[in-house]
């Protein structure tokens, strides 16, 4: 019933795409994190003209499916003439650029909410103590709020990175040959969805496992000051 030869043949083929999957994930994670920090600073700035655009952005990107966002960027933007004439066209012409852009824009919105949760979780007394000790607002944010907020945000951030990794599979809908794209080509040729898709699922689950393990270590490292018996 189960074609083990096919599994053995298709796993190396799919692993060719792991580089693209990881690249999509890492590049859009970095860009998304930068965007998220900017959005966070805009939101907590206390200035209406900064916090409102950030709120609107987060509302739109969290309220629509990532697939629709990918399609708007890849298929939709070329309809607009000024996009085709702009300097960004070389990026937006390629499916790779569009996939990275969509994933980064989408995840930036989610991550900024996570970071905000971290910042709001920092004990107020710490900030007061810091200002009593004469630290400026900027110093307080850099040396007191940020390290604690980062630690508080790690569990949610790690979940978000996992869902980002899962979203990279959607790049296969705009012709990119990541692991999912390769798997879909193999299934189209052999019509053996069980063998190919289940092996791919195992690969994704292993990747999820390593991401969670990695962030687990990072969280323990960031929380080391909380240990009492060390």
């Amino acid at each position: 019933m189960i074609d083990f030869q096919l599994i053995a043949d298709s796993i190396p083929k799919m692993l060719v795409g792991i580089g693209l999957t990881l690249e999509l994930m890492l590049v859009s994670a970095v860009l998304g994190t930068i965007l998220a920090v900017i959005l966070l600073l805009m939101r907590i700035s206390g200035r209406r003209y900064l916090s409102w655009p950030a709120l609107t952005y987060i509302y739109i990107f969290r309220g629509t499916p990532i697939l629709v966002q990918i399609f708007i960027i890849y298929y939709g933007l070329p309809q607009l003439d000024f996009v085709r004439e702009s300097i960004f066209w070389p990026i937006l012409r390629e499916p790779y650029g569009c996939a990275v852009l969509a994933l980064a824009l989408n995840n930036g919105a989610y991550m900024s909410e996570i970071f905000r949760g971290g910042v709001l979780g920092v004990d107020k007394g710490l900030g007061e103590a810091a200002s009593a000790l004469g630290l400026s607002i900027r110093q307080r944010f850099m040396y007191i709020t940020t390290p604690i907020a980062v630690r508080l945000a790690i569990p949610a951030y790690s979940n978000d990175i996992v869902s980002l990794m899962k979203s990279t599979a959607l790049a296969s809908t705009i012709t990119l040959l990541d692991m999912m794209g390769i798997a879909r080509t193999i299934v189209a040729e052999t019509f053996a969805p069980y063998e190919v898709f289940i092996s791919l699922a195992v690969i994704y689950i292993i990747m999820t496992f390593f991401i969670q393990k990695g962030f687990g270590y990072f969280e323990r490292y960031m929380s080391r000051y909380l240990k009492r018996d060390a």
Partner: protein, 231 residues
């Protein structure tokens, strides 16, 4: 706007399909979540490990992969069974509507499992003891004390699961369900205006998520009513 003339009704029917998928998969998602939570909280080792396997598998696999596996996998199984009875059949599938709602409910149900489990564990044991001490039966304690308390605790995360569900319905267009994204593709085929059409789809989904967010806010206020005086 002129490009949209003649397509409004198609988008409307597409939205109806989104609502139908959402309703069906919501029921399934709650069932999967409750079954998973019950298994995780049970004393049976076997049930516990089945539930853990369920959450690990479906939280670590992309939705699109689950969707394609269920749709094409079931199609292959069905076709081979059908061929025994009628050799002339070449392809038989479960309708994309059912395969799709089952797939997204499975994925989101694995997240709901953890939410429900956490919420049941978060119910103050003192409430249960008090209820039992007042002579309320175990069954009635479960229905009148544990369920409403757990509901209150689970609501915020549950709202996010509903948002994931409504957004995942967009994926089902990949296996050919005639929801809004599918309508947009047809409209683009005739009008050649991808940006306009996909933005319309985006607006439709945005209004659905807004409705869900507002509903959850109302439900939360209702569920926390009894706490208002205590603050």
């Amino acid at each position: 706007m002129a490009d949209l003339v003649g397509w409004w009704d198609d988008f409307f029917w597409g939205s109806i399909v989104v609502v139908q998928i959402f309703a069906v998969s919501l029921v399934m998602m709650v069932l999967f979540g409750l079954m998973g939570a019950a298994a995780k909280l049970s004393n049976s080792r076997i049930a516990q490990s089945i539930a853990s396997a369920y959450t690990v598998i479906f939280r670590g696999t992309p939705e699109i992969l689950v969707l394609l596996l269920i749709y094409f996998g079931s199609a292959i199984a069905l076709t081979s069974v059908a061929k025994i009875f009628d050799p002339s059949i070449t392809f038989l599938d479960i309708p994309p509507f059912w395969a799709g709602s089952f797939a997204i409910a499975l994925v989101v149900g694995s997240y709901a499992t953890e939410t429900f489990r956490g919420a049941f564990q978060g119910v103050n044991p003192g409430l249960i003891e008090a209820s039992r001490a007042l002579g309320i039966s175990q069954f009635n304690t479960f229905i009148y004390i544990q369920i409403p308390e757990m509901w209150r605790l689970a609501l915020p995360a549950f709202g996010n699961h509903m948002l994931s569900l409504i957004k995942d319905t967009a994926l089902i267009s990949i296996i050919g369900l005639n929801e809004t994204l599918f309508v947009a593709e047809q409209a683009i085929g005739t009008t050649g205006k991808p940006f306009t059409m996909y933005v319309v789809v985006g607006c439709i989904y945005l209004s659905f998520s807004t409705i869900i967010t507002l509903t959850v806010m109302l439900l939360e206020r209702k569920a926390n009513q009894h706490l208002a005086g205590a603050r």
